[in-house]
């Protein structure tokens, strides 16, 4: 780092490292960057590593996927299978399917890499989902990070698109059924549906073009977008600093944690290998997508238990939950509301997810920057909205496995569907109220602890014969953690410059009232001092 100053004075006895560093630095000027980045602190909390899990599993997807492209042939030309798997010998199938079977049975390590690719993809999307939940529930999407929330959301959508296009490539029965559902959904859109489907498949489904097209998307366009967005997304984390939970010495202006070099980099590097190890272990032990069972795609058969990969499950579930008879003919056209309603519902849900940071900022009228992460209980309404969203998503998700729920829990399929219909509609409301109450109760408990300390479990008999439990006061560090959060109050309706109250303001005020009517304010210094003095006084006078 200090090569510039040592250059003139350094004697001949320089280590190889020093010489090499100097050589590199003289030509790249990288020391400035390392000095800046290396000293950047990264707050330590387990949930801050979830994004890294996604990143590292994406690396596995990228590397294993590259291997697979060496052997996969994205062609729908018909061939007769002549590989090692006996129950498919002599069966007509597409080259795509045959080459995937060859990867699985006749290429050394092929099956392992294929399974690694698929498991890592599942983990990639799952880690993104959990990471998004962490960001949501800690309010880490607030200014200045709203845009990065949008980039992250786009990554989530792109990851699902990557997953689905990959799922469709082997041209086995399962992937073909999945494409058929997409085809049906596209065709269900009025006016443009049929045209779009024909454009996508190059004619009537399934055609002979779709695998090649999906392959281009899967290995060229979508990965390029994902890589670019990851760069932007991670870049913004550096620019904005990482959020941190409240604690002693943690200010909105600083970032407390181990520096990237050497501690954090070493930890993250080790963590990367652990993730790769977990993926390898799972890939080596568990079968995923046994296309040899599914056989080549043929539009007539559909297997029981046909599901998409987990991340598309919510969409499949939405389709399954629609009651029969929502399709009718009007104006000589078929209107498929059994498809349109799920599409619209999912569309609204996704718009709410991506737009939430902006909605919350508008409701609060808060234009300040926020770098301290909220504890979920300290933002009860946000947490309750999140819980409602999770319940809605989980209901749709569970519906995708309605048939397996029925067989494995000895239930009727109709019963499962009806219960999940109720869950999707009523569940979010119930979850909202329960979560809000739980958050407020937890806040009350925090308040109680700050004011009166922990219950120590030590029972003392006073001279008067009375038993009391001694409360142990908090130390200052813990108290800081519990009292430092912001409490918002409902916005007041105020006339604007022209003395008018607009409808927008009224709406904002009512939403704000909904958000912040029930609230627990953090303990103030005054309250704390009062509690302490009265508590002592109490002990002194009453019990003393």
């Amino acid at each position: 780092m200090s090569t510039a100053t040592t250059r003139s004075t350094a004697p001949e006895k320089r280590s190889f490292t020093a010489a090499a560093s100097e050589y590199v630095n003289d030509r790249t000027g990288i020391a400035v960057a390392i000095k800046g980045l290396g000293r950047k602190a990264f707050p330590d909390h387990w949930s801050f590593l979830l994004g890294e899990v996604a990143l590292f599993s994406f690396v596995v997807v990228l590397v294993s996927g590259t291997f697979l492209t060496f052997f996969f042939q994205a062609s729908m030309a018909e061939v007769e299978y002549d590989g090692s798997y006996v129950p498919l010998k002599g069966v007509e199938m597409s080259v795509a399917m045959a080459s995937t079977l060859d990867i699985s049975f006749d290429i050394r390590g092929g099956l392992f890499v294929r399974q690694m690719h698929h498991w890592a993809a599942l983990l990639f999307v799952a880690a993104i989902g959990l990471h998004m939940l962490r960001v949501f529930f800690t309010g880490a999407f607030r200014k200045p990070r709203e845009i990065n929330w949008v980039f992250g959301f786009l990554l989530f959508v792109l990851a699902m698109a990557e997953g689905f296009t990959g799922y469709s490539l082997p041209d086995d029965l399962l992937s073909g059924n999945g494409l058929r559902i997409i085809d049906g959904m596209v065709k269900g859109i009025p006016l443009i549906g049929t045209w779009t489907s024909f454009l996508l498949f190059g004619g009537e489904f399934p055609g002979t073009a779709i695998v090649g097209r999906l392959y281009t998307l899967h290995i060229l366009l979508l990965p390029a977008l994902v890589v670019a967005l990851i760069a932007v997304h991670v870049g913004y984390v550096f620019i904005h600093k990482h959020t941190q939970f409240a604690g002693p010495g943690r200010q909105p202006t600083n970032s407390v944690g181990p520096p990237i070099l050497p501690i954090y980099a070493a930890k993250a590097g080790g963590f990367m290998f652990i993730i790769w190890g977990v993926i390898s272990l799972i890939a080596a032990m568990f079968t995923i997508n046994p296309i040899w069972n599914y056989g080549p795609y043929d539009p007539s058969p559909v297997s029981a238990g046909t599901q998409p990969d987990w991340y598309i499950g919510f969409a499949d579930g939405a389709l399954r939950l629609i009651p029969p008879g929502w399709e009718f003919v009007w104006l000589d056209r078929t209107w498929s509301f059994n498809i349109l309603v799920p599409l619209i519902a999912i569309g609204i849900f996704l718009v709410l997810v991506v737009g939430y940071p902006f909605i919350e900022a508008w409701v609060k009228g808060d234009k300040r920057e926020h770098h301290i992460a909220d504890r979920p209980r300290n933002a009860p309404i946000r947490t309750a909205i999140g819980a409602a969203g999770v319940t809605f998503y989980a209901g749709l998700w569970a519906a995708a496995s309605s048939d397996l729920l029925a067989t494995h829990f000895s239930l009727t399929m109709e019963g499962v569907i009806n219960a999940l219909q109720a869950t999707v509609i009523l569940g979010p409301i119930i979850a909202y109220f329960i979560t809000k109450r739980v958050c407020i109760a937890l806040q009350k408990k925090d308040r109680e602890i700050v004011l009166h300390g922990y219950e120590s479990g030590r029972i003392v008999k006073l001279p008067g014969g009375e038993f009391i439990e001694v409360h142990q006061p908090l130390d200052e560090y813990d108290r800081w953690r519990l009292v430092s959060f912001e409490s918002y109050e409902p916005l007041m309706i105020r006339p604007d410059a022209r003395g008018k109250i607009t409808a927008g303001q009224r709406l904002r005020a009512s939403v704000s009232r909904w958000f912040f009517e029930d609230r627990i304010a953090p303990v103030t210094r005054g309250e704390l001092e009062a509690a302490h003095s009265s508590h002592h006084a109490e002990v002194d006078t009453t019990h003393g």
Binding site: L50, V53, P301, Q307, L411
Partner: protein
């Protein structure tokens, strides 16, 4: 037809594989030589048998269906089945059994579905209540009441057919209820298609010809006896050859995979993140 195809298809493949393998183990010393020989033998004997036994009707093994057997069966029937099926199997609360054939009885009683444990969406499998001999006695008694499908001959159910043909037929005709790997699936109103793992070839064959519970009948014009044998061959193959990719997770598809990655994959990773960021006390 399918026999000829399987023979002609397997020949060049085997030869090619023998040539491709290392030179140390070729010809009759090849590890698969025994299997190939066995398969060829089975195919030829099976083919010859099929040709000789004049095709479609599944003949019973040469078991003496004496009057005595039938009488024993009648006694068992009247003691155990008549409450629902009537004293002369003419039907009472339960359906008439005249003309259902020996295959139907062998399936229902042999798998423990009958006598039924309780009323429900469909009869459940339980440990069989009768010995094999008693099941046969019941079967031949019912068969004596009217003509129906007979218990299939051994060569049709021993798994000596063409697995590839069977797999294709299974996917087209059976997988929509039983799942491509025979893992079972849900039907409406609490009914279900059971998993086919561990079910004997005889019972699978009998199920196809008699259509028990909610299953449709696949008669010999629909799926020929040889094709049924191929289907059984495929199911036996799936059962005897574990997945090359590791644990199958019940062959249930993406739901099981999703649960695994969320619970064990992400679960273990979250545990690791907690460990990595834990502060030393």
């Amino acid at each position: 037809m399918s026999l000829d195809r399987s023979v002609t298809n397997s020949m060049p493949a085997n030869r090619k594989k023998l040539m491709n393998r290392s030179k140390r183990r070729t010809g009759r010393r090849h590890p698969l030589a025994t299997v190939a020989l066995l398969a060829l033998g089975l195919v030829f004997t099976g083919g010859a048998y099929a040709a000789l036994s004049s095709g479609s009707v599944a003949q019973a093994e040469a078991e003496p269906t004496s009057q005595e057997t039938i009488e024993e069966g009648k006694k068992l029937f009247q003691a155990n089945c008549a409450t629902c099926h009537g004293l002369d199997a003419q039907g009472n609360n339960g359906p008439s059994l005249i003309g259902v054939g020996a295959a139907s009885v062998d399936f229902q009683v042999g798998t423990g579905r009958m006598p039924m444990q309780m009323q429900g969406p469909q009869a459940q499998v339980k440990p069989p209540q009768f010995t094999d001999e008693q099941v046969k006695q019941l079967a031949y008694y019912v068969a004596s009441l009217g003509p129906g499908p007979d218990i299939p001959a051994d060569h049709l159910v021993n798994g000596g057919g063409d697995a590839a043909n069977g797999a294709e037929l299974f996917r087209i005709n059976c997988a929509m209820c039983h799942n491509v790997a025979g893992a079972g699936g849900a039907l409406t109103e609490g009914k279900f298609a059971p998993a086919l793992t561990g079910v004997s070839g005889v019972h699978i064959y009998e199920a196809m010809v008699t259509g028990p519970q909610n299953m449709p009948v696949f008669n010999d014009l629909n799926i020929s006896p040889e094709d049924k044998r191929d289907i059984i061959t495929y199911l036996k193959y799936v059962q005897d050859n574990r997945s090359p990719g590791g644990f199958e997770l019940g062959s249930l598809g993406p739901v099981a995979e999703g649960l695994l990655i969320w619970i064990f994959g992400l679960g273990s990773i979250v545990a690791i993140t907690v460990w990595i960021t834990a502060k030393s006390n």
